[in-house]
């Protein structure tokens, strides 16, 4: 999976900035996408390209259980969020709903990745290749259950 980075050098990017509460009444995925990241970066929907990755600091997606958050990002074209850690509901919503990949990296890797870098994510061998900088990083492997749900394509396709 190859894509370009939109980097937010920030911890605790919460669900209220990913998709503000006033839009929770909306369940049309395309309409939600027009408000993605509105609380932090109102230009996000116009600059994001299909296949892009978000890179951010720790505790990404903290706050609410709103599935609107991974829905809004994935409908905009985001295929993975790469962060130093994730809040639990955002993480499992992303995986169980098969919206995007939540990829955990260490602080050092987070520092090395820059905005607009082109990355290739390979979850088979837990590697991230920085094509722009010609560097290779390792990602934290998914736990067994998460890997199985991802490979099945979401919780409903996963066979116990």
């Amino acid at each position: 999976m190859i894509g370009n980075v939109i980097k937010y050098e920030q911890d605790n990017i919460d669900t209220d900035v990913i998709i503000p509460g006033t839009y929770l009444k909306i369940h049309d995925y395309n309409e939600l996408a027009t408000h993605a990241m509105e609380g932090l970066d109102p230009d996000f929907p116009s600059k994001v390209k299909d296949g892009d990755f978000i890179v951010a600091g720790k505790n990404f997606g903290c706050g609410s259980s709103r599935e609107h958050a991974p829905i809004a990002l994935s409908t905009c074209g985001i295929k993975a969020v790469i962060a130093t850690s994730f809040a639990r509901i955002f993480y499992r919503n992303s995986v169980d709903g098969a919206f995007l990949l939540p990829i955990e990296i260490d602080d050092e890797t987070y520092q090395k990745i820059s905005n607009s870098d082109q990355l290739e994510i390979n979850i088979e061998n837990n590697q991230i290749k920085n094509i722009t900088k010609n560097e290779t990083y390792s990602m934290k492997p998914f736990s067994e259950i998460i890997a199985k749900i991802i490979s099945a394509g979401g919780i409903f396709k996963y066979k116990k």
């Binding site: 209220d16 900035v17 006033t22 929770l24 903290c62 259980s65 639990r88 509901i89 169980d96």
Partner: protein, 423 residues
């Protein structure tokens, strides 16, 4: 095993479980509301297109529905969501649907305890992050997204990784004017807003034994703000009594084993706790209320699942009695049952005489949806649970999280005020 492990072991048909085990737990109770309900319906639509049968729920008697986030309907999209919810409960024969304008209704988490919908020892999941609240009754209560709730509705179970448990021990009784809210803000400040991430936060000790059920609910409610999977308090006679008074017929005490394991123990002395406030823009950004006595406010908000239970309203009313508010003050009881009790006991009259506005139960402004959202640059003290940028309205508004007593004292002075300093 500790209480969370015991509940998850029973629910997954195992004799024992340990942290990091992945289990499928049978779910005893499921909740959706006017945001997660339509979200679940959207998932059902997708599943139907994939050929998955959504014509029957696993067990509709385990399901209940709340109308809380956008009620009374703010505009036509919200109104349509309420109609969709009614169609959903009709289609799937869901009997427990608490409709606004039709008797008892309120914030989903408040209904879970006011209506005794969850018993000690049960597994309860809801389509809302503050589902953790109900763990104060001794249940495993955990918030999930739409896809997972849809999975539970159709299959009656869901996967969990058994969490590690952090144990927060409170010794002694809270001093006058210090509330459970102050204690949980202090904890979140100490461990950080991901300090409980993926783990259980359990509360115990003599300070918890002393506490009312409503105070315990405030603690479990905000474990979400530390990222916890669930908050939990072992049930006792008080829990069972509380549930029986609200119609429960099969509530009984459920606790962990005496030799239970906890991965960390945090000890607090109640006498050292003070009125505490979380400054913008994170619940872990805490300080004591007295440090903020020069912070001028535009509004005081007494509402939400966190801060508008009966006891919260009573605490605020004691402070507002015979006084006038200096800033816009809104009081929204968290359920009709609480509202009625507050009328009967004269609390609503105290709020109105003080100049506050009293509104119907709703999540409303707590999540920046409607009914009292903040304008640009407005500053609010609030009994709610989150203060991220834009949480209660404009992205450049500010929210200070505090106890009902601090919110009421601040309403009187127009500045953040420690209730101990109010004349």
């Amino acid at each position: 095993m500790n209480i969370t492990e015991k509940i998850l072991a029973r629910a997954s048909g195992k004799t024992t479980v340990s942290p990091d085990d992945v289990i499928f737990a049978k779910v005893d109770k499921v909740m959706v509301h006017d945001v997660s309900g339509p979200g679940v319906m959207k998932v059902f639509d997708k599943l139907q297109k994939q050929g998955i049968d959504t014509s029957k729920l696993h067990d509709s008697s385990k399901v209940w529905i709340a109308e809380d986030h956008f009620v009374p309907s703010a505009e036509k999209v919200s109104a349509e969501n309420i109609v969709k919810l009614s169609n959903f409960s009709k289609k799937y024969d869901i009997k427990k649907h608490f409709k606004y304008g039709m008797g008892q209704y309120g914030i989903c988490h408040t209904l879970s305890h006011e209506e005794a919908l969850v018993n000690p020892g049960e597994v309860y999941v809801g389509g809302d992050s503050h589902t953790n609240t109900t763990g104060a009754l001794g249940a495993f209560a955990c918030g999930l997204g739409h896809t997972d709730v849809a999975y539970v509705l159709l299959n009656g179970e869901i996967w969990f990784k058994v969490p590690e448990t952090y144990y927060f021990k409170l010794d002694g009784k809270l001093p006058p004017h210090v509330m459970a809210k102050d204690f949980i803000l202090k904890i979140i400040g100490d461990i950080g807003n991901d300090g409980g991430a993926y783990n259980t936060m359990q509360f115990g000790g003599t300070g918890i034994d002393e506490m009312s059920i409503e105070s315990r609910l405030t603690l479990a409610n905000m474990t979400t703000e530390a990222g916890a999977k669930n908050g939990i308090i072992e049930s006792d006679e008080k829990t069972v009594q509380y549930l029986k008074e609200r119609g429960a017929t099969n509530a009984s005490i459920f606790c962990g084993d005496a030799d239970a394991n906890y991965s960390k123990i945090f000890e607090y002395d109640a006498s050292e706790l003070e009125p505490t406030v979380a400054k913008p823009f994170s619940p872990d950004n805490i300080t004591i209320a007295r440090e903020l006595s020069s912070t001028e406010l535009d509004k005081s908000y007494i509402g939400s699942c966190t801060g508008a239970k009966y006891e919260d309203l009573l605490a605020a009313a004691k402070i507002l009695k015979g006084k006038k508010v200096k800033i816009r003050t809104e009081v929204l009881p968290a359920a009709i049952s609480i509202y009625k009790r507050a009328i009967k006991d004269g609390l609503i009259e105290i709020f109105l005489d003080a100049g506050a506005t009293v509104g119907p139960p709703t999540c409303g402004a707590c999540c920046g949806a409607h009914m009292g959202v903040l304008a640009k640059d407005e500053i609010c003290v609030s009994t709610t649970n989150r203060n991220f940028p834009g949480r209660m309205g404009h992205v450049e508004s500010q929210t200070y999280l505090a106890s009902p007593q601090v919110a009421a004292a601040s309403a009187v002075t127009g500045k953040i005020t420690d209730p101990r300093d109010l004349n």
